[in-house]
Symmetry: C2
Subunit: 255 residues, 2 copies
Amino acid sequence: MSSTNVTNIKALKQACKTCGLRDLCLPLGVATEDLSLLEGIISRKRPLQRRDVIYQAGDPLTCLYAVRTGSVKTFVLTNDGEEQVTGFHLPGELLGLDAINDGTHPCTALALETASVCEIPFHLLEELAGRTPRLQHQLLRIMSREIQTDEHLMTLLGHRASDARLAAFLLNLSRRFGMRGFSRHEFNLTMSRCEIGNYLGLAVETVSRMLSRFQDQGLIQVQRKFIIILDVDGLREIAGVHGHESRQSEQVSGS
Amino acid sequence: MSSTNVTNIKALKQACKTCGLRDLCLPLGVATEDLSLLEGIISRKRPLQRRDVIYQAGDPLTCLYAVRTGSVKTFVLTNDGEEQVTGFHLPGELLGLDAINDGTHPCTALALETASVCEIPFHLLEELAGRTPRLQHQLLRIMSREIQTDEHLMTLLGHRASDARLAAFLLNLSRRFGMRGFSRHEFNLTMSRCEIGNYLGLAVETVSRMLSRFQDQGLIQVQRKFIIILDVDGLREIAGVHGHESRQSEQVSGS
DNA sequence: CGTAGGATTGAAGCCGCTCAACCAAAGTGG
DNA sequence: CCACTTTGGTTGAGCGGCTTCAATCCTACG
């Protein structure tokens, strides 16, 4: 239909100002007048279908991508050809930061479901960041956050048992969904058990068994991809998080 | 002695221009005239003794630190009080990047041996980076590299067996020593077996056994902390690296 | 309705952890 | 200078958690 065409064309230039993800994304802390500049270099790509590739390992870095809707996974291929999931990404998160180092994407990014992303030419972003202190600061913060997140996952993979890994994973998803205005207690897993296992360094069977066990323990309720969290504190206990929230931090408060 | 005092005072302001680590550190790619500005905000702290703390988890972020000599480990404490090593850092590497996110150091940094670091006030660095595109770019690159490194470690921890982890660890150290002008084939481990195991998600005993096995297989020679690498390709085979160098990348080539 | 891919469940085996003893090197104090 | 202690490392035995292999079930989709 032509009407959808018109909408697509209109939506091509994205307005960060009116975007609900503003406070989770690059614009956080950036003054309104500077936001227009940022909007000027960002374009919204057309919606992606499940399994569409956003960029591929080996591609030269041209743009960073901000997830707008849907979810995305990133993975590398080992030299023996098997896939290793490095992350799942929700709306407001930035993709491609690991490519800045040598100008080449080390991993592939792929839509887990119908999704859309904003496209940010990296050299323009860099140039704009140089002229916009708050933007530069927010870019650094986002990269720092990614480092923190990875460190957290490293300790999970290196030191925690399978139940702790899965509990932490669920809590992390719950938090991230919550921050985006979705329910913290009920959500759909957009990734397969296999992908979860791959990400957490566990066999598919172990993931499945743990989910069943959590359900038997009354911690969660599982219906295929749909998860209901019944006992957050119980999960926290298992994840080894006592006082404060299950980390893998993201901020809302401005700097 | 007064003579050492004089040297210390002289050394307090550090000259990046004459530093042998220039091409591994922040100054890479920064024009000579801008280097003076960078030098202007960097000071060299006095040498550290083994086990001296550079910053502690929970400290507010005031400075980033560049390792100048010696080696440093970073670690977090889990809520049950056990230590989890997040990295070992050699000269030219930047410490504290994970603190930018929320302005607080999530981990503690501690000298593994006699060491020295350059101190870089973060707010000044940020401000200078805004006025110096090459510096901003290099800062982003270094953070991106850290993300890549962490991703690499994640796949190691999540998917590889103990022998592959240790082999990759040795190869990685070998590379990093090599890039700093030290031998790639012979070096001292400045960290204990326990710290290696902690970092790689292995028990101390496993580290010890693997080192013995590698020695029996004629891959390396171990004398307490001193390691001689006899068969790089053999180690690569075990690490699961075929074509290209054992990753955990660092660049020398300018942007 | 039939098929395929994903998910679950069970059984068996192995890798790496735990526990424990022993050893070596480096301090430490008399 | 030597006994004693401490710290870090090695080696062995046994166990357990997770993987692997395999069969079955479920659901989506043609």
